[in-house]
């Protein structure tokens, strides 16, 4: 499938590169609808991998790459089932999203996240699954999950630990603060910093460069440089599930889901 237009995203293969565009109102939240379409996307990888050198992931939404997991959906689904079934539901969702993230992480092509605006929680975890993050100078990054009483659940912490120093991970995790693109670039999270509105253009230019190199060497280099931290990822799912069953989490999610204020995404 060389092009697709779904309810939450679309993609198009062109000149050996595929562009995946997230486009889900209001802020590219990753819930079951986006997960289903991401699953379709990664299942299409295999068939075209041999003729594809790069994949660019970007957002069509103004001011946001992705605000992360769909917390309102998470809350409403959790309260719609008996308490005992909540854990089963969340574990199943996490396993599916981990499979998608791992597929993007290990794809035998160069994956580039072209980030503008807010890149929070699950949105940052999606960007971290990519090989290269190119960010516009107005981009902001955060892991605000601890304020809800759980940890990032889409593979974020193991992947951030793989790429950066533990001190940076702790700062992001324990404060939940957003950091700007310049700071993210300084600590090595962002590979290339661009002017406002230029991230996608620079990502396309980078994709053209990537395409010049031998695909076998590229795939081997990637496998060598970017091992998937499977054990830690599994542990992350377990910790998330242990934390998720606590009443404090339901209280925090309820507050988030019902917050009429202007700042629900901020830590």
């Amino acid at each position: 499938m060389k092009s697709f237009k779904g309810k939450t995203l679309r993609w198009e293969w062109r000149d050996g590169s595929v562009e995946l565009t997230l486009d889900h109102e209001p802020a590219n939240e990753i819930g079951t609808a986006m997960l289903e379409e991401l699953e379709i996307f990664v299942s299409a990888f295999g068939a075209v991998a041999c003729e594809t050198s790069s994949c660019i992931i970007s957002s069509a939404r103004k001011s946001v790459f992705s605000a992360g997991g769909d917390l309102r959906e998470l809350y409403h689904q959790a309260i719609s089932v008996p308490e005992k079934e909540r854990l089963e539901g969340i574990r199943s969702f996490l396993k599916r999203i981990h499979a998608v993230m791992n597929a993007i992480d290990a794809a035998p092509l160069v994956t580039i996240a072209a980030v503008h605006g807010a890149c929070l929680g699950g949105g940052l975890e999606l960007a971290l699954a990519c090989d290269i993050i190119i960010a516009d100078k107005m981009a902001r990054f955060a892991f605000p999950e601890l304020r809800l009483g759980f940890i990032p659940g889409f593979g974020g912490v193991p992947r951030l630990k793989r790429d950066l120093g533990n001190a940076v991970v702790r700062d992001l995790l324990f404060t939940g603060r957003t950091i700007n693109a310049a700071r993210a670039h300084a600590v090595g999270l962002v590979a290339q910093l661009t002017g406002e509105g230029e991230a996608l253009r620079v990502a396309r230019s980078t994709a053209l460069q990537v395409a010049k190199y031998d695909p076998v060497a590229r795939a081997a280099a990637k496998e060598f440089m970017k091992p998937i931290p499977h054990e830690e990822l599994q542990r992350e799912i377990d910790i998330f599930c242990e934390l998720f069953t606590r009443p404090e989490v339901m209280t925090a999610l309820k507050k988030f889901a019902e917050d009429p204020g202007p700042m629900p995404y901020l830590p």
Partner: protein, 80 residues
């Protein structure tokens, strides 16, 4: 070193430009959530704009509960 008055004026000018309002239409005591009608993502955008302009980092928790330009300018001033 900027004075607090200069910082406040620069914050007002940046906000007016960012949200495409006439220059001088914002005042230090204005509640920016009410005056600008902005949401959390637009707040983050404004935060980036301010950090890039002043060359500082302003952690979200330092501006939590801040809703007028004067107090925001004070928080920025403390980082300059």
């Amino acid at each position: 070193m900027r004075t607090l008055e200069q910082t406040t004026q620069e914050v007002l000018d940046l906000a007016a430009k960012h949200f495409q309002l006439p220059a001088g239409s914002l005042a230090p005591e204005d509640d920016f959530f009410k005056k600008l009608g902005i949401d959390s993502l637009q707040t983050l955008e404004m935060l980036s704009r301010l950090e890039n302009h002043f060359g500082i980092e302003l952690p979200d928790y330092e501006v939590q509960g801040v809703s007028n330009f004067k107090t925001l300018a004070e928080r920025i001033q403390s980082r300059l």
